[in-house]
């Protein structure tokens, strides 16, 4: 496989652009629940949505298309004609393109999801650059495979991950290691570009509305800031939301994590897992090592 960071959506650290991306993703979340349709941005492009998840996005002036992304998943690159041939056959047969690509062994499920996320991320980045609002939301029949659709939180994290793909991959692995049933969560770093928190990884299928996710991440950061006043070594905290639910936040190597627990048992398991690691001799809260970006595994 080729390193993939050479094909990443062009989200920049520009605060105005980051805010514009968030605004677009919040528009996706504001579409009617259970309804498929297109958020159309006139001549600039569109975001196709099914039940508030992003199924497809396109924009004018995209730097790369899905075909290029699929071609360049392999070394040497796949012949363009092979991929376009599958597109053609699927259209003739009225089948989803994703199905054809997998059937012909041109990509894997994971590879396809990665390629689609980058494609849609690039489209959303380009749409965000236009700072336009959608002209309408046109309902349509649902027809996309839910395996290849993305929540707003997932798409935001995929965009944020591009700032440092290797750090994002570590953060995703950290979430996978510690988050248990009945929890969801996200990893983030401080950033002036995105209202204080740049989301770099989220739990799979995280459905927390962006406005709430970003709010809780900012509050977790603030809690650590206040805790630093009396003990800068504090790297794990638990704040009860009610008798059952809680926010668990931790930080490691410059990355902050927030786990949202829907039950006392989930909170206990997450705290246990994290405090075991915290008290292990090898663990010490530290700033992140400076590493050059590497491809996601």
């Amino acid at each position: 496989m080729k390193p993939e960071h050479s094909w990443t959506p062009s989200i920049s650290a520009d605060p105005r652009l980051a805010s514009s991306v968030i605004r677009l993703l919040e528009l996706v979340e504001s579409t009617p629940s259970g309804v498929a349709g297109a958020l159309r941005f006139g001549e600039h492009g569109a975001i196709l949505v099914d039940n508030r998840k992003i199924c497809w996005a396109f924009a004018r002036d995209m730097r790369f298309g899905l075909t290029e992304l699929l071609q360049n998943q392999y070394e040497p690159a796949l012949p363009r004609a092979d991929i376009e041939g599958v597109y053609r056959r699927c259209r003739q047969e009225g089948r989803p393109i994703t199905e054809g690509l997998l059937e012909h062994g041109l990509t894997s499920e994971l590879g396809l999801r990665r390629a689609l996320s980058k494609h849609h991320g690039e489209a959303i980045a380009q749409l965000a650059r236009t700072f336009t609002t959608p002209s309408d939301f046109a309902p349509s029949r649902p027809g996309y495979d839910v395996r290849y659709s993305f929540t707003a939180a997932e798409m935001l994290a995929l965009s944020g991950a591009n700032v440092d793909p290797s750090r994002a991959a570590r953060a995703q692995s950290e979430l996978a290691t510690h988050l248990v049933d009945e929890t969801t969560g996200a990893a983030f770093v401080r950033s002036q570009a995105s209202s204080g928190a740049l989301v770099i990884a989220v739990a799979p299928h995280c459905q927390l509305p962006l406005v709430d996710l970003l709010d809780v991440l900012k509050r977790a950061t603030s809690l650590f800031d206040v805790a630093d006043v009396f003990d800068p070594g504090i790297s794990l905290l638990r704040a009860a939301c009610c008798e059952r639910t809680a926010l668990v936040a931790w930080r490691d190597q410059g990355v902050c994590y927030a786990g949202l627990c829907a039950s006392r048992a989930a909170t206990a398991r997450l705290m246990s897992s994290l405090s075991e690691r915290l008290t292990a001799p090898a663990f010490a809260y530290a700033e992140p090592p400076r590493q050059k970006g590497a491809a996601r595994p």
């Binding site: 927390l208 509305p209 709430d212 709010d215 809780v216 509050r219 603030s222 809690l223 206040v226 805790a227 006043v229 009396f230 003990d231 070594g233 504090i234 790297s235 794990l236 905290l237 638990r238 704040a239 009860a240 939301c241 009610c242 008798e243 059952r244 639910t245 926010l247 949202l260 627990c261 829907a262 705290m271 246990s272 405090s275 915290l278 008290t279 663990f283 010490a284 809260y285």
Partner: protein
């Protein structure tokens, strides 16, 4: 808490308690109002208490209720707002008291290996104070 609190962590008994020091602090101004211990433990409790107004406010009531709702919890019970903070060497617990508005039990333990015991002792202490 001018006298040794009856829920002090190092009391002897059948149940081996975690080392734990307590104080009673004002959420409004961060003052440590009562504390039976001195030395480093007292300093830690004072320093933590001083941040209480901001600490408790940071995850405000509205935000906690909203999160509880999103997570399928019971926002009606959102006055339950325990905060636990863990470093490599210490566990801190802030527990606002239900029956003594504006006050919180603040606790610090110099061990992180007995989290369950620490929380049990804190809850027992809170129960005692709330019952007073």
């Amino acid at each position: 808490m001018n006298q040794r609190p009856r829920f002090a962590g190092d009391q002897s008994g059948e149940y081996a308690r975690a080392p734990l020091d307590f104080g009673l602090a004002s959420i409004a101004n961060g003052e440590l109002l009562e504390c039976a211990v001195g030395g480093e433990a007292r300093t830690r409790l004072e320093d933590m208490s001083a941040t209480l107004p901001v600490l408790v406010d940071t995850l405000g009531e509205v935000s906690r209720r909203r999160l509880a709702t999103l997570l399928g919890g019971e926002p009606a019970g959102a006055s339950y707002s325990e905060l636990v903070l863990v470093s490599k060497d210490h566990v801190y617990v802030v527990q606002p008291l239900q029956n003594r508005e504006g006050l919180a039990l603040v606790s610090v333990s110099p061990t992180t290996t007995s989290m369950g015991k620490i929380l049990s002792d804190v809850h027992a202490a809170v129960g005692g104070l709330d019952a007073e």
